[in-house]
């Protein structure tokens, strides 16, 4: 068996509005569209993902929040109906997904060996969170690639941002080790919105895009600054500014998916590709890609 590897990673935010706007058969609610630029950004990301030919998708979601340690979905098949608790008018989605339990167990064990509290979720009636489902639908609506689902431990909120980031850094390294040993081609998905300042009222027609714009100019400026640094491949600066970004833009990246993914990829100093940016009830959402395999091939060609 050859060594497994992380072929790429995406920032893949999960506003349920994007699924609602697309009107897939799995979702009960119907729309007239909306949030097209973000949905088209996902279309581009879907094409990239297709070319990456991954064996497995790993997704870290803020909406499976766990108090005691980092948890991993550990049931081979999960299905049900996911209703968003906040946007139940928009998102009532029938999901059916396959879990790569073997890789999930390996990640769980590696992380435990590195000192983190971890746990496998073995309850077959478990309802997968809407963040995980939205991200997976938007990046791969065919649902034909097994997944590893990882919870967001509450440490950035319960302890401090720095302690949270430290745990995510460790979890990222553990994830990489497990993938390398697995022999599989893996793609990582950080299910995070950037600036999280949002409006407190929903338009009568939720997809009325004449009402959609950044809620906060400060939040918008932060997002642009951070995206520009990512496009330059300057992740050192991104991580140096991370706590400030979290604080001033109320960024959802605080919950850990984003630092987990960067750590797992080894903070690659390669330009990230922005597929698109848009707001959802005022929050900032970017669909971004780090294509590690392409970057490797480019380096090899230069050498």
């Amino acid at each position: 068996m050859s060594q497994g590897k992380i072929v790429g990673g995406f920032v893949a935010p999960h506003p349920p509005h994007l699924v609602y706007g697309e009107n897939p058969p799995q979702n009960e609610a119907r729309s007239e569209g909306g949030w097209e630029p973000l949905r088209w950004a996902y279309e581009r990301a879907r094409k990239s993902l297709e070319e990456m030919k991954p064996d497995v998708l790993l997704v870290h979601s803020p909406h499976w929040q766990t108090l005691v340690g980092h948890h991993f979905l550990g049931v081979p098949h999960l299905e049900g109906k996911s209703v968003d608790p906040i946007f139940s008018n928009l998102f009532r989605y029938k999901f059916s997904l396959d879990v790569d339990v073997e890789l999930a167990e390996a990640c769980c064990q590696e992380a435990a060996a590195m000192g983190l509290t971890t746990k496998m979720m073995r309850n077959p009636k478990f309802r997968v969170d809407y963040g995980t489902i939205t991200t997976l639908h938007m990046i791969r609506p065919q649902w034909d690639i097994p997944i590893v689902g990882i919870s967001a431990n509450n440490s950035p909120y319960y302890l401090s941002v720095d302690e949270g980031v430290e745990q995510m850094d460790t979890l990222g390294v553990a994830t990489r080790k497990a993938i390398e040993k697995s022999g599989k081609r893996a793609v990582l998905l950080a299910s995070n919105t950037f600036s999280h300042w949002h409006f407190h009222e929903e338009p009568d027609v939720p997809e009325d895009m004449s009402r959609e714009h950044p809620q906060s100019y400060e939040g918008y400026k932060w997002d642009m600054k951070m995206i520009e640094l990512m496009r330059q491949g300057n992740l050192k600066e991104v991580m140096r500014l991370f706590p400030e970004w979290v604080e001033e833009a109320f960024a959802e990246v605080k919950s850990g998916a984003f630092p987990w993914m960067l750590s797992a990829m080894g903070y690659p100093e390669i330009p990230a590709e922005l597929h698109g940016y848009g707001t959802v009830i005022g929050t900032g959402n970017a669909v971004m890609e780090w294509n590690l395999e392409k970057a490797e091939a480019r380096d090899a060609a230069v050498a």
């Binding site: 766990t66 108090l67 005691v68 340690g69 608790p85 509450n154 302890l159 009222e201």
Partner: protein
């Protein structure tokens, strides 16, 4: 009198799913006392506020006439599944939604099959209202509402019940001190995570037991200043808003839920 009984109860599923675990047994036993007192008060409806049902945009109210199914808690899934059997008093829910407009709060009902009802509501209903015989009015915890708005909402709900000539029982679902153990523990050794939290919890419970609404509100202010509490104890604000004044309370149980504080309290109205 519209409000005929009022209780503070924990929203953690642990005392329900492991009633035999010694540190959690008193909470489960306390819940049984609440069930008896609640049934004896013969309410027409049960007004519920749980810290675990978050709303962000509007004030949400559960409008589904009957919700059934099974619920698995995202944290405590290994302890077992929870049966959902909730009936809404839809007339009163509709009146509450309409009543929100009068107090300047945007509101809407949620009426969806498979709606993710929070663990606290399910646990409390299963403990005190088995079979879901008493219809419910369930309000969400809007994260942007402070104690003032929360009290106003509860008072409005009581006013609507009064207009419909209904007897109302009030259930405030949530904990006390919020600090928990973030590592695996032997559940047989569960205790309040910090001694200072334990002392603060006991002080607050004393104030509820021996005070009235004014002195209890003051004690609640002190508690919130010194302790990281469950959602700023907005569930108690809800209860105060619903009951108006009260004459002390009976603390049926106090104990830990994985390090966090929890109590079962019956208020004397």
């Amino acid at each position: 009198m519209t409000v005929v009984s009022a209780f503070l109860v924990p929203g953690s599923p642990l005392p329900y799913l492991r009633q035999d675990n010694p540190p959690w047994q008193p909470l489960a036993a306390g819940y049984e006392k609440v069930r008896d007192a609640l049934q004896a008060s013969k309410p027409d409806a049960l007004l519920i506020y749980s810290t675990q049902w978050f709303a962000v945009l509007d004030q949400l109210w559960q409008a589904r006439p009957h919700l059934t199914g099974e619920h698995v808690d995202e944290n405590w899934y290994e302890y077992g599944d929870l049966t959902i059997d909730l009936r809404s008093d839809t007339d009163l829910v509709d009146a509450c939604i309409a009543g929100c407009a009068d107090i300047g709060i945007r509101a809407k009902g949620v009426n969806y099959d498979h709606f993710p009802v929070d663990t606290g509501t399910i646990v409390a209903n299963n403990f005190v209202n088995p079979g879901g015989k008493i219809p419910l009015v369930i309000a969400a915890n809007n994260l942007y509402h402070g104690p003032g708005e929360t009290e106003k909402l509860a008072a409005m709900a009581v006013e609507q019940a009064d207009k419909q000539g209904k007897r109302l029982a009030v259930l405030a679902i949530g904990g006390l001190s919020a600090a928990y153990f973030d590592e695996e523990i032997d559940i047989a050794d569960d205790r309040i995570r910090h001694d200072a939290d334990d002392a603060a919890n006991r002080q607050l419970l004393d104030a509820l037991a021996n005070g009235d609404r004014r002195s209890a509100s003051e004690a609640l202010g002190r508690f919130n200043e010194g302790t990281k509490a469950d959602m700023g104890m907005k569930h108690l604000s809800w209860l105060f808003g619903a009951t108006g004044d009260f004459k002390g309370a009976r603390v049926h149980a106090y104990g830990p839920t994985y390090g966090a504080g929890a109590a079962v309290v019956e208020f004397n109205l």
